[in-house]
Each structure stands twice: as structure tokens, then as C-alpha cells.
């Protein structure tokens, strides 16, 4: 069967790119007052991107082994 790390990795990579770009574009927006002046979108975007990439990397490495 499919390695579950492919869809997980792909989804979080896409979400990561999406949220990072959105965070960058809205970096001066007033809505970040809610989040105590922190641009949580850029932070969570990068977190998701790193997580997604790590999942994809593990899935690909596993495939090469076998």
C-alpha cells in the first residue's frame, strides 16, 4: 500500500507554503494584535513546511532502501 508519509508530507508542505506566503503578505496587518503582535502565520507556515518536508524525505529514503 501507499506510504502514509507521502500524503501527510505533501499536505503539510502545501499548507506550509500557503500559510507562509499569507503571513508574509499580511505582515503589517492589524489582525496580528490578536496574536500579541507575533506573526504566527509565518512561524506556523515554516513549522508545517519543515514537518512536511521531513515526512517526504523519510518516505523517499524508505523507498530507496527497498
Amino acid at each position: 500500500m501507499v506510504d502514509i508519509r507521502y500524503p501527510i508530507g505533501l499536505m503539510f508542505s502545501i499548507l506550509g507554503v500557503l500559510v507562509t506566503i499569507f503571513g508574509f503578505v499580511t505582515r503589517n496587518a492589524a489582525m496580528y494584535e490578536k496574536s500579541l503582535g507575533i506573526n504566527v502565520n509565518i512561524i506556523m507556515g515554516i513549522v508545517m513546511l519543515v514537518f512536511g518536508a521531513a515526512m517526504l524525505y523519510m518516505a523517499i529514503r524508505k523507498k530507496k532502501e527497498s
Binding site: 500500500m1 501507499v2 502514509i4 500524503p7 499548507l15 500559510v19 500579541l36 502565520n41 507556515g45
Partner: protein, 574 residues
């Protein structure tokens, strides 16, 4: 009270929907027979099944309810995790999985059939099927009403859309699709709720400020200043802690009877371990699930506790919606916190996390229901197996698929009943939660005492359930204004809080079931031979040797690691 969502939030949600449906679509071609569809072909790696195991448990009611409990009871809510889950999960892994998985039973009711007899299986299968549908209807209702009140979504649309997505991916890819999606949902829940923990903690000024902020709330409620941030410290007397239960009730009622009843016998959960690729993997599944389980309190309970501080500080502008009688709705704590701290973007992630938790719980219910229906009800009573295995297999695959559709439709129906008669549904759920404690007694005796018999188990199960019912009818929590909370026969004892009543109901159900099963087993004849019971009972099954594995890869080694972390956490937050 409304939360406004922007296009980016909807876009994030859409990406998530595409992936859950996509997983179902990709797996559809592997669903060639009933075994693949209902049991995932017993092919899941331990870590996949382990995360699914915990994700199924992390349903919408769990996330909403535990954050709400954090706000009501403070740190004592962690008792539902550290004492109320981990020991049972370790026990399931080390002592029960060898018989569950090794017996080749396809469900918990089928284990009862193999170990005891047909009637014990039948009773359990029917009660389980009804309970599963009720539970999934209630959580569906809770989520749809939450989205209607807070997000302004139409009740019917959010109900049907979320149910149809779950139906689509479980229909296409069966248990494999449910499990794969549960793993994905697990990560979405964690990542979606993570910013909330950090932002709310930072907002009130960190851990030490949290402690300081809780003191006035605790003293004004009549407790010691640190009552909301400790776990065992004030459990010598029930009245001294916000939970309202003393250490014995917590230890024996929650930590033993309720917890072992839930984790060790609930097929919804155990099914994930049944799907593992090998016996060693199956034994590791609950232990792998236990690792995230221990840390989930930091994700969902801590924000709830922070809610106590926010409520007491008018400058924060944090408030909970009120119900018709003017009491705050604690279950809405999580979504009100999302509203408080998350701007567009991460807000979409947070809402998607709630949706994901709902879907993981519901898919768990549906995939357990269709298996029990197909194997334990349909195959046992409606159409038995024939000599033609291939035709049989196609037939049961079809039945499994129809049961999936039927299960979802029945859940929707029960969600609508819950929206009209919420009290009755709560009552039914309380009643059905009483079947787990006697079930644990019967399965435990079955696994560890070869003398226990079918007649005794059946009677034990039934009397345990009836005694629990009687106890609920004869006692009530103080201040109960409805008979649904108990005392519908007449009140002979009052409990300080509803929680204490629930704990004692379970304790009584368990004790009666144990007593009746033991006495009747001694009085009735064992109809199963020792050969029949091989692989089903501890004393008649060859021991498993793990000596070829390094210690940290053995299930027992993993159990020690889990146990030590759990004890350390309990001591830190004593």
C-alpha cells in the same frame, strides 16, 4: 460571539478535504475483499496503527470536553490521561493483545464467542452497535451546533457535509482509509492547536503567572490557592478539590474500572491494534499511542486552565457563551480561545483541527460499527458462511459497504434526535457507558481464569449492567434538577458531584459482574475443552519470547519507558 473566517481559512480547510478524500480514493483499489475492507488486511505498521489508535480517541467531544474540563477542574483533568489511560494502555499491550490478536478474532465480540459462547457475543455485539451509533450521533450534533453558534454555519449543511466526507473516505477505502486519515488528522490536530498553547501562555505571562493567576479563583471557590494547578495534592477529601472526588474514587473508579473498561474492551479503539501487521506490532500499538496521549494534556487542558485566569481578568475580554439557564458552556472554551488569539490563516488551521478531531472520532465509530455488524450480527444470525469462500468474501464486502452507509445514516438520524431530545441522548449515553465496566470484568476473567464459563459470563455481563442501571436510578448528584441525571427510582444516596456518581456506578457494575461471573462459573460446567481455550486463556497459551530483540524494541521495554515518563509527569504536577 461570532468568529469571522476569511478566504484563507476556507482555503486551508479545502486543502485538508482534498487530502482526506484523496486518501480514500487512492486506497479504493486495494479493497478487494471483506478482510481488506473491514480489517485493513492486518497490514498496518505499528507506528501507523499506534497514532490511529490515539487519534480515534481524540474525537471532537474529547477535545472540546477536555478543554472545558480544564476550565472547570484545572490540572485535575490530567487524571483522565495519566492515571485514567496510561496504565490501562500498558496492560492492554502487554497482557491482553497476545490473546486478542493471537486468537485471530476479528472483533471484541468475536473474542467473546471464541472464549465463551454465542449468546455472550450476541449481547455484546448488539449493545456495542447501538452505543457506537449513539456516540457518533452525539458528537456530530455537538460539532454542528458549535459551528452554527460560533461560525454561523448552517446546522444541516455542516452536519451533512462532514458526515458525507467521512462516509466517502470510509466507503472507498474501508478501515485502511480510516486509519491513514486518522494519522493525518492526528498531526493536523496537534499543529492546528499548538499556536493556541503558546499564545495563551505568553499572554498571561508564562507558567509562574498562570499559577499566581489561579490562586484568587481557587480561594474564592473555597479551595487552597494551588488547587487548580495540582493533581493529587488535595484528593485526601473530595470537598477539597474542584473535581469533587477523593483519591480512592480516582484511583479505583477512574484509574481502574472506567479506564480499563474503555481502553481494554472498546472495540472502536482496540480495532486499530487488530489491524497491525504482526503480533509484535499489535502489542506495540497501544504503547506507541500512549506516548502522545501523555502529552495531549499540554495541548488541550492547559489552554482550558488558562481560560480560568482569562475569565477572572475583565481586561482580557474573554467570555464563554451561556446556555438557556445562564450557565457558561464549558465545552465552547476551545473555540472561544481560538477566536481570542488566532488571526486569519492559523485560525483556519485551528478550525480544521476541530473538524479533523470530529472526523477521526466518527470514522472510528463507523469502521467499528460496520465490522461488528458484518461479522458479529450479519454473519452470525442473518447469513452464515458457505463453502464458497470467494463468493462469500464478495458478499461480505458488499455487506460491509452497505453497513458503512447505514451506520453514517443512522448516526445522522441520532444527531437529529439529539438536537430535539438532548437530555435523553445524554441519558442513553450514560446508560451505555455502563456496559464497558462489566465487559472488562468478563473479558479479564476470560483471559486469566480458564474456569470461567459462558453462562456465567453472560449473566455477569447482564447483571453488572442492570445493577449499574439500578445504582443510577437510586442515586443522584446534589442539585440535580432532572431525572436524567439519576434518582428516577428514588434517591437513597446523594453524591456531591456527577463525576463521583459516574465513578461509583462503574465500580458497582464491575464488582457485581466479577462476583456473579466467579460464583456462577464455579456452579456451572465448563463446556470448552482445554484445547478450545488454547490461545484464548493465559495459562493455556505458550509464552511469547522477545529475547531475540534488543530491550528497547521489545514491547515490555517500551512499556517501561512509557511508565517512567508517566510517573515523572505525575510527580512534577503532583
Amino acid at each position: 460571539m461570532k468568529v469571522d473566517m476569511s478566504w484563507i481559512d476556507y482555503l486551508i480547510m479545502m486543502v485538508y478535504f482534498v487530502f482526506v478524500l484523496g486518501i480514500g480514493w487512492f486506497l479504493r483499489k486495494y479493497m478487494k475483499n471483506a478482510n481488506a475492507f473491514l480489517e485493513a488486511g492486518r497490514s498496518m505498521p505499528a507506528w501507523v496503527a499506534g497514532l490511529a489508535f490515539i487519534s480515534t480517541n481524540l474525537g471532537a467531544l474529547e477535545v472540546m470536553g477536555m478543554t472545558g474540563s480544564g476550565m472547570k477542574y484545572g490540572m485535575l483533568t490530567t487524571h483522565f490521561y495519566w492515571i485514567g489511560a496510561i496504565p490501562a494502555m500498558i496492560f492492554l499491550a502487554l497482557f491482553m493483545m497476545p490473546f486478542y490478536y493471537g486468537s485471530k478474532a476479528r472483533s471484541v465480540p468475536e473474542y467473546l464467542k471464541l472464549r465463551y459462547d454465542e449468546k455472550t457475543r450476541g449481547l455484546n455485539a448488539i449493545l456495542f452497535a447501538v452505543m457506537t451509533i449513539l456516540a457518533s450521533g452525539i458528537s456530530m450534533y455537538a460539532l454542528a451546533i458549535l459551528f452554527e453558534r460560533i461560525l454561523g454555519w448552517d446546522f444541516n449543511i455542516s452536519l451533512w457535509v462532514s458526515a458525507m466526507i467521512v462516509l466517502a473516505y470510509t466507503y472507498l477505502g474501508g478501515l485502511s482509509s480510516a486509519i491513514y486519515n486518522e494519522v493525518l488528522q492526528f498531526f493536523i490536530i496537534v499543529i492546528g492547536l499548538l499556536p493556541l498553547v503558546f499564545l495563551s501562555l505568553k499572554d498571561i505571562g508564562g507558567w509562574s503567572e498562570l499559577k499566581a493567576g489561579l490562586a484568587p479563583a481557587a480561594t474564592s471557590a473555597g479551595y487552597s490557592p494551588d488547587a487548580y494547578i495540582t493533581t493529587w495534592k488535595y484528593t485526601a477529601e473530595a470537598s477539597q478539590n474542584p473535581l469533587g472526588v477523593e483519591w480512592f474514587g480516582i484511583l479505583f473508579g477512574l484509574g481502574f474500572v472506567l479506564s480499563f473498561g474503555y481502553w481494554c474492551t472498546n472495540f472502536l479503539i482496540v480495532q486499530r491494534a487488530f489491524a497491525a501487521e504482526s503480533l509484535t506490532a499489535a502489542r506495540k500499538v497501544p504503547l506507541i499511542g500512549a506516548i502522545p496521549k501523555m502529552f495531549i494534556p499540554f495541548l488541550i487542558i492547559i489552554p482550558g486552565i488558562i481560560g480560568i485566569v482569562l475569565m477572572n481578568d475583565p481586561g482580557k475580554g474573554f467570555d464563554l457563551p451561556l446556555d438557556s439557564s445562564g450557565k457558561p458552556i464549558y465545552d465552547y472554551t476551545i473555540i472561544m480561545l481560538l477566536k481570542q488569539y488566532l488571526p486569519a490563516g492559523v485560525l483556519g488551521l485551528g478550525i480544521t483541527a476541530l473538524l479533523a478531531s470530529f472526523m477521526s472520532g466518527m470514522a472510528g465509530n463507523v469502521s467499528a460499527f460496520n465490522t461488528v455488524w458484518t461479522y458479529d450480527i450479519y454473519q452470525s444470525y442473518i447469513r452464515k458462511r458457505t463453502d464458497n469462500h470467494e463468493a462469500d468474501d464478495r458478499h461480505y464486502l458488499k455487506v460491509g459497504r452497505i453497513a458503512t452507509v447505514g451506520g453514517v445514516l443512522l448516526s445522522i438520524a441520532s444527531a437529529y434526535i439529539a438536537s430535539k431530545f438532548g437530555n435523553i441522548m445524554d441519558f442513553l449515553q450514560t446508560i451505555f457507558s455502563m456496559i464497558n465496566a462489566p465487559l472488562f470484568a468478563v473479558i479479564f476473567l476470560g483471559m486469566f481464569w480458564k474456569r470461567s464459563t459462558g453462562h456465567a459470563a453472560f449473566t455477569g455481563l447482564l447483571t453488572g449492567f442492570l445493577m449499574a442501571l439500578a445504582h443510577h436510578g437510586l442515586t443522584a448528584p446534589v442539585g440535580a434538577n432532572t431525572l436524567f441525571k439519576g434518582g428516577w427510582i428514588g434517591v437513597i444516596h446523594e453524591y456531591p458531584v456527577e463525576m463521583a456518581q459516574n465513578f461509583w456506578t462503574a465500580i458497582i457494575a464491575f464488582s457485581v459482574a466479577t462476583l456473579v461471573t466467579v460464583i456462577l462459573s464455579l456452579l456451572t460446567k465448563q463446556r470448552k475443552t482445554e484445547n478450545d481455550l488454547k490461545g484464548l486463556v493465559y495459562s493455556l497459551t505458550p509464552r511469547i519470547s522477545d529475547e531475540h530483540m534488543p530491550w528497547h524494541k521489545r514491547p515490555a521495554g517500551l512499556a517501561i519507558i512509557v511508565g517512567v515518563i508517566c510517573i515523572v509527569l505525575s510527580i512534577i504536577f503532583w
